[in-house]
C-alpha cells in the first residue's frame, strides 16, 4: 500500500499481504495471493472481479468466516484492532453483527425461511445490544422502518417467502445495520434483483452507512455499479488485486491492462457493438504453479520479466496503485 493512502489514524480495516489456499482433494488451490488493502472510516470500497477471482473468499476472510479447508500461510487481516484470522470463534462471534456485518446475494435464502423476519432482526439485537426482549422488538421495528419497509409492525411477523426479493434484501440490511457496525460487507447484494430494485437497494446501503459513518466493502462483478456507488475500487483477477485506486482514476485512466479490458467489455458507455472489447482467454487454473503475474496468458502487453519477477506495486499519483510491469 502506498504511504499516501495511510492517514494519521489507524485504518478501520487492513489486509496485509494475505495469502490464502484451499486444500482440496484435487490439490491446493491458490485462491488469494499477496492481497493488501486498507479501508478508512466512512469509505465505500468496491472489489470488482469475474466469478472465480476470489472476491467472495476475501469478503469471508474479512468476516473471519472461512471454510475449514482454507489455510493462510502468510499475511493477516486487522479490523478495529482485532486479527480476524487468529481470534477465537467466540471472540469473533462477539464482533460479528456488532462491529462488522455482512449481507449476501439471494436474500431470500439468506434469511431463515421458517422464522419471522422481524424475529431474525430481533435475534441480532438480543445478542449484541444488551436489551430486553420487548425493547429488542421495538428496535427491530425501528430498524425495519429505517430501511423503508412499508408497515414495519405488520411486516415484523412476515416470513421471508411472503416478501419480494427486494424487501428481503432490505430486511438483511436492517439486520446488518441493527447494531450500527463500523463495517458492512456486501457480497453481490443485488445479484438476481431487477435493475430498478437494485438501484433502490444500493441507494439504501449507501444512505444507511453514510448516516452511520460506517464503511462498506462492496463485492461485485459489475464495474458500472461499483463506479456509481464506491469511493475507491479494487480490481481483483485470479486472486491478485491488480489495481486499486479512487473510482475516478480507475475508470478514467485505468493502468492495468485487465482493468482497461474490463471497462471495455462492460456494455454501458459504448455506442456500437463494435466498440465492445473482449478479454481473451479465461482465469488460469489456480491449482497449478502460477507465474508471478496471473494475467500473463491473457495479456497483450506482457514483457519477458512478467514471467520471472515478482509483481511490482507501482504507485501512480496519491491514491492509485497498479501491480504491473508494463502499465498503460
Amino acid at each position: 500500500m502506498s504511504a499516501a493512502a495511510m492517514t494519521d489514524s489507524v485504518p478501520l480495516l487492513t489486509v496485509d499481504d494475505l495469502v490464502l489456499d484451499f486444500r482440496t482433494r484435487s490439490g491446493t488451490v491458490h485462491v488469494l495471493d499477496g492481497i493488501s488493502l486498507t479501508l478508512e472510516r466512512g469509505e465505500i470500497l468496491g472489489i470488482v472481479g469475474e466469478s472465480g477471482s476470489g472476491k467472495s473468499v476475501l469478503a469471508y476472510a474479512m468476516m473471519g468466516l472461512l471454510d475449514p479447508a482454507a489455510r493462510v500461510p502468510r499475511g493477516g487481516i486487522r479490523f478495529a484492532g482485532r486479527n480476524m484470522l487468529t481470534e477465537s470463534e467466540r471472540a469473533l462471534a462477539e464482533t460479528r453483527g456488532r462491529e462488522i456485518a455482512m449481507i449476501f446475494q439471494s436474500p431470500r435464502t439468506a434469511l431463515n425461511p421458517i422464522r419471522r423476519v422481524g424475529t431474525q432482526v430481533q435475534d441480532v439485537l438480543l445478542r449484541h445490544a444488551n436489551v430486553s426482549k420487548k425493547e429488542a422488538r421495538t428496535r427491530a421495528i425501528e430498524a425495519l422502518a429505517r430501511v423503508r419497509i412499508p408497515d414495519p409492525e405488520r411486516r415484523f411477523d412476515a416470513y421471508p417467502f411472503e416478501l419480494s426479493g427486494g424487501l428481503c434484501q432490505r430486511v438483511m440490511i436492517a439486520m446488518a445495520m441493527a447494531c450500527n457496525p463500523y463495517l458492512l460487507i456486501a457480497d453481490e447484494p443485488t445479484t438476481g434483483l431487477d435493475v430498478t430494485t437494485q438501484a433502490v437497494v444500493m441507494d439504501l446501503i449507501r444512505d444507511q452507512v453514510r448516516s452511520a459513518n460506517a464503511s462498506v466493502v462492496l463485492i461485485t462483478h459489475d464495474l458500472a455499479l461499483a463506479g456509481e456507488y464506491c469511493d475507491r475500487i479494487a480490481v481483483i483477477h485470479a486472486g491478485h488485486i491488480v489495481e486499486i485506486g479512487s473510482t475516478e482514476a480507475m475508470l478514467d485512466s485505468p493502468k492495468h491492462p485487465y482493468t482497461a479490458r474490463l471497462i471495455g467489455a462492460t456494455p454501458g458507455g459504448h455506442e456500437s457493438i463494435d466498440d465492445l472489447a473482449s478479454i481473451p482467454g479465461s482465469l488460469p487454473d489456480l491449482r497449478r504453479d502460477l507465474p508471478p503475474c496471473r494475467f500473463i496468458d491473457r495479456c497483450d502487453r506482457k514483457l519477458d520479466r512478467c514471467a520471472v519477477d515478482p509483481l511490482p506495486a507501482v504507485a501512480i499519483g496519491a491514491d492509485h496503485l497498479v501491480r504491473c510491469w508494463n502499465p498503460l
Binding site: 469475474e50 466469478s51 423503508r148 412499508p150 419480494s164 427486494g166 424487501l167 431487477d194 435493475v195 430498478t196 430494485t197 437494485q198 438501484a199 433502490v200 444500493m202 441507494d203 444512505d207 462483478h221 459489475d222 464495474l223 458500472a224 455499479l225 463506479g227 456509481e228 456507488y229 473510482t247 475508470l251 479490458r261 474490463l262 471495455g264 467489455a265 462492460t266 456494455p267 454501458g268 458507455g269 459504448h270 456500437s272 457493438i273 463494435d274 465492445l276 472489447a277 473482449s278 478479454i279 479465461s282
Partner: protein, 323 residues
Amino acid sequence: MSAIMEAVRLVKRYPTGGGMLHAVDEVDLAIQPGESVGLVGESGCGKSTLVRLLGRLIEPTDGAIVFEGQDIAPVPLRRFVHDTARGRIQVVFQDPTESLNPTLTVFETVADPIRRLGTAGDRNALAAQVRKAIALVGLPPEMETRLPHQLSGGQRARVGIARAIALRPSLLILDEPTSALDVSVQAVILRLLADLRSELGMSYLFVSHDLNVVRLLCSRIVVMYLGKVVEEGPTEALFRDPRHPYTRALLASIPNPARRGQTPWRLEGSASSPIDPSPTVCRFYGRCPRQEDACAKTMPALRAVGSDGVHRAACHFAEETSA
C-alpha cells in the same frame, strides 16, 4: 415490407387458486425481416411467457401468431413440433448450463434438431451440417466429442447458439442469453451474436434485463410491464426521450458512474398482482409518481407519441416529454 413474425392481440392466462393470472395481455408485436428487437421488463412482467408463446413452446389463450405470412397459433403444439416452421423459429435459452442435456455430446446436441427437422440425408451430410454450425459459433472442431460439464460457460453458450442456428432459422429468439456469464465472456458472445445475424440474415428478438446490452444489439426496443407493452420505439429515441414513467425509471436505474452521489427518483415497491387485474386501471397505477384520476378510470392504450409513428407509449401523459 411485411413482418416476419407478428403477434396480434396475443393473450396467455393461467388459472391459479386466486383467479386468472394474466401473464401476457393482448400484446401486439411485429418483427421485420432482418430486424433485431429488444424486449425488456422486470421479472414477472410476462416477457418469458411471451418468449414461450412466440417460440411456440406453450399454447396461447387467445390471439394470432403470424409467422412468414401464416397464422401458426391454431396449430396444436403436438403437431407444430413436426412442422417445417418449427425449424424456422428457434430459441437460445438463458442458462447455458441448464439448456444442455448433460448426457449428450456437443455433436449430438447440435445434430438433434437437424435429425428431427432437417433435410440432411446421410451421415456425412449430417456431420457436415453439424460441423458447419459448430464452426459458425467459433468452437474448435475437437470440442465435438465433449460433454457439457467439460466445457466452460462461454463454450456452453456457444453450443446453445450452434444448436439454435443449425437449422438456419429466420427468427432467433434470445432469452437472456448472457445473463449467466461473466462480462468478459458476455462481450464475446454479444459480438458473436451480432456477427451471426449479419452473416445469416436472421431476425432477433432479444430479451434482456440489461438495457445496455439491448441498446448495443437492437434497433428497436419493446418495454413490458405486467403483461402489457407499455412503450416501444427505436432504441435511440427510447433512450433519449422515454415517454412512459416505467421506462424512465428503468433507464434511471442503470448503474452509471457518471451519476455517483446522486439519488434520482426511484421506482419503489413491487408491481400489483397479475391475478385478475382491473381492465380499466392503468397497470402502473399505484407505483407511478404521477397517478391521476384518469389513470384509475381508463387503461391507457398504446399509441404513437412521436412524429415518426414508430415510437409508441401507453400512458395518458405520454405526450409530455420528460425534462
